[in-house]
Symmetry: C2
Subunit: 248 residues, 2 copies
C-alpha cells in the first residue's frame, strides 16, 4: 500500500454530498479533518489488515470495494461483510488486542487514515461524533445479524437473492448505482459463494436457475434488479430500507 498526505479535505469529501449521509456541523467536520492522518491507496487484491496482525489505524473507505473475512486453519474462508465507500473499519480491531479477521481490497481503494490513539480524544471532545462511531458499529452488527439469518436459515436461492438485493441497497447508499440501475460488482462468484457459505458450484448453478426467472440481470459483473418486489419475496426478506447515517 501507498500512503501520502490527505489530498481530500474532509469539508470537500465527495461522500458527504450523498443524500444518505447525515449532515455534520462545520465544527465536527473540522475535528474530523484534524483526526485524519492522511490517505492510503491500496491495490486490488491487496491486504488492508492481515488476519492475526495488529494495526494501529482506523479507516474510512473513500472509494473502491473491500471485504472482511475469517479463515479456518485448513483454509476454508468465510467472507463476513463487504466494505463500501463511507464505511468505517477497524473499530473491532482497535478495541481488541489482536485482529481476528482480515480485510482485503477487491478493487483499487482509497482510504482515509485515522489515528487509533486519537480515538479517545474524539470521545472526549466530540461526543456527538462518538455517538456516530457507535452508531456505525451498531449498523455493522445489524448487517451481520441479517447475514447470520441468511446463512443459518435460508436455502441457496434465497441466500443469493438476499445477498444481491443487499449489495444493491448498499451500492445505492454509496452512490455506486448508475442511472440505469446498474451496479458493478467487483467480486468473483467464488467471493460470493464464500460470503454465503456455499460451494462455488452450487452458487453458480443456483444463480443460473435464478437468472431464468428474469427478476434480475447479473452477468459480466453487472447487476440490475428488474423487479425489486419479487426479489425481496424470493429472498424471504422484509425489505426494510436504510435511513440517514453518519460519516466519519
Amino acid at each position: 500500500m501507498n500512503g501520502d498526505g490527505g489530498q481530500t479535505p474532509c469539508r470537500a469529501c465527495p461522500l458527504r454530498r450523498l443524500p444518505l449521509f447525515a449532515n455534520a456541523t462545520s465544527a465536527e467536520v473540522d475535528f474530523i479533518e484534524t483526526f485524519k492522518m492522511g490517505e492510503l491507496h491500496g491495490k486490488a487484491g491487496g491486504t488492508i489488515y492481515l488476519e492475526g496482525a495488529t494495526s494501529p489505524h482506523l479507516f474510512t473507505l473513500l472509494s473502491g470495494w473491500a471485504f472482511r473475512y475469517k479463515t479456518l486453519p485448513d483454509g476454508r474462508r468465510q467472507i463476513l461483510n463487504y466494505v463500501l465507500p463511507g464505511d468505517f473499519i477497524g473499530l473491532q480491531t482497535t478495541l481488541a488486542e489482536t485482529l481476528d479477521h482480515g480485510i482485503e481490497a477487491l478493487t483499487d481503494v482509497r482510504l482515509c487514515v485515522f489515528s487509533r490513539d486519537r480515538l479517545a480524544d474524539l470521545f472526549r471532545n466530540q461526543p456527538s461524533l462518538a455517538l456516530d462511531v457507535t452508531w456505525l458499529a451498531a449498523r455493522d452488527e445489524r448487517i451481520l445479524d441479517d447475514h447470520l439469518l441468511s446463512i443459518g436459515r435460508r436455502r441457496s436461492r434465497e441466500r443469493i437473492a438476499y445477498l444481491l438485493w443487499h449489495l444493491m441497497t448498499r451500492g445505492r447508499e454509496s452512490g455506486l448505482v448508475d442511472d440505469d440501475g446498474v451496479l458493478v460488482l467487483p467480486m468473483t462468484q467464488q467471493h460470493l459463494a464464500d460470503t454465503l457459505g456455499l460451494s462455488l458450484v452450487t452458487f453458480n448453478k443456483t444463480l443460473q436457475r435464478l437468472r431464468a426467472t428474469g427478476i434480475f440481470v447479473f452477468g459480466d459483473r453487472r447487476l440490475k434488479i428488474v423487479d425489486e418486489a419479487k426479489m425481496i419475496a424470493v429472498a424471504a426478506a422484509d425489505g426494510v430500507r436504510p435511513r440517514s447515517r453518519p460519516l466519519i
Copy 2:
C-alpha cells in the same frame, strides 16, 4: 415483565466483583447509578424485546440467560447470540428506529434498565464510559464474526464443539461455572440447533457421536469440558481467551 426500583446499587453490583470486569472509577460508577432507571424482572420464556417493535430502553443483564434471534416470514428461526450476565443489550435497537430482532429470556432474568434518552448524556459527560459502550458493541461484533464463520464454514461436529466451548468460555466470564467446571445451560437442543443453523435431529445425532469421544460431558443441561485442548481442536478453533472488559 415486572419493574420496580433499583434494589441493587451499582457500587454493590455483584458482577463488578468478577475478575474479568475492568475497574471503573468511583465517579463512573456514580454516573452509572444515575443512568440506571431501575430493575426489571422477567420470567423464563418471556419476551424482552419483540421483533419489529420499538423499545426506549437499554439493559444490562444482571442475572439469568436470554437470547437474541431473528425469524423468517415462514417461521424459521435463527438464534443470533446469547445474553449472559454483564452483557449490555439494546444498542442496535436504540440507534435504529425499528427493532429487527427479538430478545427472549431463557430463565428468569433480572435486568438493569437504562434510559435511552440519557445515552447522549453519557456520551457528553462520560467519554470513558462511552468508549466502554462502544467496546461492548465491538465485542458483540467479534462474537457474531466467529458465529458466522461457524455456520458458514464449519461442519456440524465442529459447530457443536465450537458453540459448547464458546458458551463455556462466556459462562466462565460471567461467573456461572462452578468449582467442578460444570456450567448449567438453560437452553434446549432446539435452541442450540437454531443457533447453529442445524435441524434438531442432526444436532442430536451429531451430539451423540461427539459425546462418545469423551472430550466433554453434556447431559441434563449440565456441561463440563474434560479436555479443552481437544475440544478446541475438534472445533477447528484457535482458542483465544477473552481479556478484561467493561461493565455498564
